[in-house]
């Protein structure tokens, strides 16, 4: 037991970072905050899913997508369609000319449920669609772009255009999509009222749990050969290609992975906020998501979570106390981070806090494998730690991105 790899990992320094995040999200924040603030944190965490995806896709593989909002939005819309259908029972919509369809369809003279809404009566289908629809779109975009070696800035701008197209489409087809208002007034999930404080708190914990699932999935990929190929591709794409790897396939994979994460985040967002609107698909939302990732540190999946939390908390905080000043503060934050700390919070941590930790731990004697004490971390020699921390990542230079 003591020597099982899982326990060992949790006792390692990296494991402790994860434990610290878990402690913060599962114990500290729920104890400190009331239900209202906790729900806000839950909302911020749904953005963290996108940020983790961006770390994989942009930080590791060097593919900057300015259209992550599209995938976030698609996931969210899938969930919202299911919830809307559940809320639009014939009884609840009795005053409409066609009862039993969503209210906005009735306002637009649509008299029957459109075909693509039908499957969303099933919760199982919805769960698949939340991941499936974004991944499918990512696959189409990815195959079209990466096999033709579109990359870098071009890719970023094309994804931006896709975000613009989808926004205009959704707003224009308001009979089928709710238009600019989005899909609102969502009430229950399989009969469970999602608007109560208890439900919001429960959803918060679901969000945290899924966040860790995604974190571990991302970590797993990072540690495998796959992750190293991604990083290698970022720095020396041609060498990887000449070594016989199909670069496009790896790019498509990581882009789809990021889309899947974003879709999950979007679905959770819909659940915790209670509506979905085209403003999350647009360019502004998509760029903000990149900022979360950049602030947290584009190379660190944990950093991305902290980045999403901090930027959003700052945004809420600034806008509550200084409504006129918050755009200045946000703008300054972006510029500052990019100019001074290109690797974000995680980079700062690595430069300033880690050496301190090292000194701290080195003096302590080796203790047993109990998880509780932080002092268990230095069970490794620096050499072993070298294995834990991917040398490629340390040598990675953002200049090539």
């Amino acid at each position: 037991m003591k020597d099982s790899p899982v326990v060992k990992w949790f006792a390692s320094r990296e494991g402790l970072y994860y434990l610290a995040l878990a402690l913060l999200l599962v114990v500290v924040l729920p104890v400190m905050l009331d239900a209202f603030r906790l729900n806000m944190v839950g909302k911020y965490l749904t953005y963290a899913f996108v940020a983790i995806g961006l770390v994989m896709c942009w930080g590791k593989a060097g593919i900057l997508s300015l259209g992550q909002g599209v995938f976030f939005g698609l996931g969210g819309y899938c969930m919202a369609m299911y919830l809307k259908l559940e809320a639009s029972t014939p009884e609840a919509t009795a005053i409409q000319s066609t009862p039993g369809i969503p209210d906005f369809m009735d306002w637009n003279q649509i008299t029957a449920l459109p075909w693509f809404w039908e499957p969303f009566n099933s919760f199982a289908f919805t769960l698949i669609a939340v991941i499936g629809v974004p991944v499918l779109l990512a696959l189409i975009i990815g195959v079209a772009m990466f096999t033709r070696r579109v990359g870098g800035v071009y890719f970023a701008i094309i994804t931006q255009a896709i975000a613009a197209i989808l926004t205009i489409l959704i707003i224009g087809q308001q009979g089928y999509t709710g238009g600019i208002n989005g899909i609102t007034d969502l009430r229950t999930l399989m009969g469970w009222d999602i608007r109560t404080d208890e439900a919001k708190t429960a959803l918060y914990f679901v969000t945290v749990a899924l966040l860790f699932v995604c974190l571990f999935a991302a970590r797993l990929i990072q540690k495998r050969k796959l992750g190293r190929i991604l990083v290698a591709m970022n720095t020396q794409e041609n060498r990887v290609r000449f070594s016989g790897y199909d670069v496009a396939a790896f790019k498509i994979f990581v882009f789809c992975l990021a889309a899947a994460f974003a879709g999950i985040g979007g679905a959770l967002f819909t659940l915790s906020v209670g509506f979905m609107s085209p403003s999350f698909i647009g360019i502004v939302a998509s760029i903000e998501m990149v900022i979360f990732c950049a602030l947290g540190g584009r190379l660190s999946i944990l950093g991305a979570v902290y980045g999403a939390l901090l930027v959003n908390a700052a945004k809420s905080g600034f806008s509550e106390s200084f409504p006129e000043l918050w755009p200045f503060a946000m703008g300054a934050l972006f510029i500052g981070v990019v100019l001074a700390f290109p690797n974000g919070l995680a980079g700062l941590y690595q430069t300033y806090v880690m050496p301190l930790e090292e000194r701290l731990f080195r003096r302590k004697p080796k203790t047993d494998g109990s998880q509780k004490a932080k002092a268990t971390a230095p069970a490794q020699t620096p050499g072993e730690r070298g294995k834990e921390y991917d040398p490629l990542i340390d040598q990675y230079s953002p200049e090539k991105s």
């Binding site: 613009a164 205009i168 200045f328």
Partner: protein, 308 residues
């Protein structure tokens, strides 16, 4: 849809539709030229391009107010002064931004995107604080309003013609500057091979700053011209950014000619589609076609043959 119209009516509508396409074309050229220099030549993704345009528009607004108060007699000609001011103000801010921010990021093009996005947030809020959240109305001199009546049905808007002339002159000026002047040679040398350019004694930092300032200045002129046809408000600039980038990328980022060709193609497509379809669908279709072609030909229409 053409039932019940006479041939002459149809002819005049097509003539005017052609003109509408041309004036959209000149709008696109104006929007994109500044960015083509900054993004195409320097590789800097300037997300604050729209905000530089609005700065030009606000400069025009201030100039017109000043002329109204102090030189009412010369009001008819204020617009030319305003364009000059717009160029100078935007170029000055551009040079400052290059010095303070962009020059540290030349090796990280994607990071310029984030930093200039931050800059655009700051500029927008600055406009809101200084000029108020409402849109400002820029008064035009009387000679610039109205239209020239060619036939009964065909009216050519004077401000549309004016925008065309500005677009044309700036395009020609940029062409001579970039391809026929010593300075342009230096710029192109720095773009193509920075270390070699430095080795032959070109001050690459100075060239960078001047190029960035030039791009921003052209954005300012575009903004001044757009006060004639669009709105001037703190966040008006965002409306232009996607279109602008698409025009530049579609044309092939490093080719100024490509930018003009792509502006022509996109504007004709959009204005024709708008005539036959409803507005929103026309926009979606245009964007889809552009994205589709870009997927087939990622380097854009007129790409330089370079090693990637």
């Amino acid at each position: 849809m053409f039932d019940g119209y006479t041939t002459s009516e149809l002819m005049s509508i097509f003539a005017m539709q052609g003109f509408a396409g041309l004036s959209l074309f000149s709008v696109f050229v104006l929007m994109a030229l500044g960015l083509a220099i900054i993004f195409g030549q320097m590789g800097v993704i300037n997300m604050a391009h729209g905000e530089f345009m609005i700065l030009g528009a606000y400069t025009t607004y201030l100039t017109s107010s000043a002329f109204q108060s102090y030189l009412p007699g010369l009001f008819g000609g204020y617009f030319f002064v305003a364009m000059l001011f717009a160029f100078l103000v935007c170029a000055a801010l551009g040079a400052f931004v290059e010095w303070a921010m962009v020059r540290h990021l030349y090796r990280r093009p994607l990071d310029t995107l984030l930093a200039t996005w931050g800059l655009s947030l700051i500029l927008q809020q600055a406009y809101r604080t200084i000029f108020g959240a409402r849109e400002v109305g820029v008064t035009l001199p009387d000679w610039m309003m109205g239209s020239i009546q060619v036939t009964d049905m065909v009216d050519l808007p004077i401000n549309g013609l004016f925008v065309m002339i500005i677009a044309l002159s700036i395009a020609i000026a940029v062409y001579f500057l970039m391809y026929r002047s010593g300075w342009g040679k230096k710029v192109r040398a720095v773009v193509q091979n920075r270390p070699m350019a430095e080795a032959v004694g070109i001050n690459s930092a100075g060239v960078d700053r001047a190029t960035f300032a030039l791009g921003c200045g052209i954005a300012g002129i575009a903004g001044a011209a757009f006060t004639m046809i669009g709105s001037t408000g703190p966040s008006s600039g965002q409306a232009y950014i996607v279109d602008t980038f698409l025009v530049v990328v579609f044309g092939g980022a490093q080719s100024l000619i490509g930018t003009i060709v792509s502006a022509f193609g996109i504007s004709q497509a959009q204005s024709t589609l708008e005539f036959f379809l409803s507005g929103s669908m026309a926009k979606v279709l245009t964007l889809l076609v552009v994205v589709g072609i870009l997927m087939l030909r990622p380097e854009g229409l007129m790409a330089l043959k370079i090693r990637r």
